[in-house]
Symmetry: C2
Subunit: 304 residues, 2 copies
């Protein structure tokens, strides 16, 4: 039995359009209604045939839905949910894919009516691209999806959202919003912050031209530019809504970087080699856990 | 006409063994003699048939060579060059592939005899792997190779080393060792330092277990682990020998990161979005310059 029969997706960017494609591929009998605020995107979604219906308003999309998934930047969620709250069917489940969960639980909880279950979720999967053409059906396959229901969440609704993501090929975990936000601050938000920062630094140095930075980027820098090419609005919202956890891990990172700086200044080769040996082992565990490819250089093409 | 006819490679790790394979593939009539300090590696090189001769000492490898290429960590070069200096043929050219050039020019210049030309080089190409099995013939194809001859270098020797790398498919540039070391501090050494640091930080936090870090690493962290899996000894030597330039750009990075931290603390969304928009554009120029693949997520496999 399908966990949901009439799904509405609000926001047809990378994640929303991937979700639509995955639902189409893996639950083809689900009736899928989608909305995007941008008329050009709606036209594109129709042209790509990603849904049964494309509506001009979010409210029109949710009317019959038994599951509504918000796929917009974190700080845009509350206003959109407010705009459709009155149109939700009784018994509907509302979920989302936002990269920050504490704020989403608060924001959506504040505007959703009684009788509607809220089950926030975060599929830990993505690419650096945006928009409806960037999505693909296998994005969530074999990736983790974290559910962060509030303390009063309806267990039946949580189980259905779990079943939904499992059907899409994801591995589902549940944790508190606060713990999610701390874990993701480490594994995702800090790495993005650092990448944005280093790409910014490298682009405005005296002494080294930006064409030199581009030319010799294969030495390591180009990896950071991929992450730092991620959607600006999405990431602005992540940092503004997960401020405390991000500042916390950033503080730790700065201390560790200062220790490394000191080791370089004083020529402490043992310190450096010991750290680098330890970090090499971390890579091994990530590959063994199936979280990355073992192909050299991510399997990038060489010699072409 | 071949730029060199008898090439000796000292050190058969990732770069040395890639160079051997590339020479075999693209200049098959060159007589190739190689040495590695490790007997197991020498046996492996024989088994893989990567050279015409494998010698037990560096001195034995260089005897007849008209080109000797040192492919060992930067701080190991001087002692090895000292060990074979007396055995070099008059007119031989000595080069290397070290990631730092100022120190190499000084170290090799101090021990090489008169009548031997020194032309340091750095192919800006690599992977996170080490050892003779990690190499491949196309590593240098379409990548940059930077020559950093000293002020008194023999122009004819420089032209021959240029021709050698061009034959291997690389695009050759020439610059001063000091400028090389500053450019690479930005495009390679700082990114590696940051990656090592963040992987270290993430592995010892309270509140987030390391198995959680591994599990949810697809959010961005796993990219950093690839870089932080690079050879510990090689990178120790890079930081110890390019200390000034690395500390300089690290200082700039720290200032920029502090500005970002401040923007997050004060909720300055405009600052964040403006930076993230600028860095997204840098990615575009790297792809347009042919320095990286445009495939989503580096073309990593999805859904497998
Ligand atoms: N990218 C990732 O790697 C990733 C991974 C996991 C979760 N997420 C989360 O997924 C969500 C969507 O991200 P994405 O990567 O799919 O981004 P995206 O490709 O840029 O798509 C963003 C979508 O949100 C809509 N939107 C933006 N601002 C809006 C506003 N003020 N009001 C209404 N709609 C608005 C956009 O509509 P228009 O068409 O009008 O622009 C678009 O449909 C975010 O919450 C993000 O945190 C992202
Ligand atoms: N990896 C990259 O991405 C990259 C890119 C461009 C340039 N480079 C430069 O290429 C050089 C070699 O790096 P690699 O990546 O090929 O490293 P690798 O795979 O670890 O190989 C290192 C080689 O150096 C030898 N070696 C290490 N310490 C030695 C010592 N004290 N005395 C004698 N031989 C020693 C090793 O011999 P054993 O077999 O005995 O261990 C091995 O043959 C370094 O100077 C590096 O800066 C690297």
């Amino acid at each position: 039995m399908l966990p949901f029969e009439r799904v509405a997706i609000i926001g047809m960017g990378l994640i929303g359009s991937s979700l639509a494609r995955a639902v189409r591929a893996l639950m083809p009998t689900v009736r899928l209604t989608v909305h995007d605020a941008d008329a050009d995107v709606r036209a594109r979604v129709l042209a790509l045939d990603l849904a049964d219906d494309v509506t001009d308003t979010a409210a029109a999309a949710v009317v019959d839905a038994d599951l509504v998934v918000l796929c917009v930047p974190v700080r845009a969620m509350r206003a959109i949910a407010e705009s459709f709250a009155a149109d939700l069917s009784p018994g509907a489940v509302v979920s989302d894919v936002g990269s920050v969960k504490g704020q989403v639980l608060t924001d959506l909880g504040a505007v959703l009516p009684k009788g509607v279950a809220l089950v926030p979720a975060h599929p830990v999967a993505g690419t650096e691209k945006s928009g409806p053409d960037a999505g693909f059906a296998t994005l969530f396959a074999n990736r983790w999806c974290i559910l962060t229901p509030g303390p009063d969440a309806d267990p039946a609704a949580v189980a259905r959202v779990d079943a939904f993501w499992t059907r899409l090929g994801a591995n589902v975990e549940t944790m508190t919003p606060a713990h999610h936000d701390m874990v993701l601050a480490v594994t995702s938000h800090l790495p993005h912050l650092i990448a944005y920062s280093i790409v910014g630094t490298a682009s405005d140095l005296e002494g080294v031209t930006s064409s030199e930075v581009i030319k010799y980027s294969a030495g390591g820098f180009r990896d950071f530019t991929r992450i730092a090419a991620s959607d600006p609005v999405m990431w602005r919202d992540v940092f503004l809504t997960n401020k405390d956890a991000v500042l916390d891990v950033l503080q730790r990172f700065s201390e560790d970087l200062t220790a490394l700086q000191r080791a370089i200044r004083w020529g402490d080769g043992e310190f450096l080699e010991a750290l680098f040996t330890r970090t090499r082992a971390v890579r091994r565990t990530i590959i063994d856990a199936g979280q990355d490819t073992d192909a050299d250089d991510f399997g990038r093409p060489h010699g072409s």
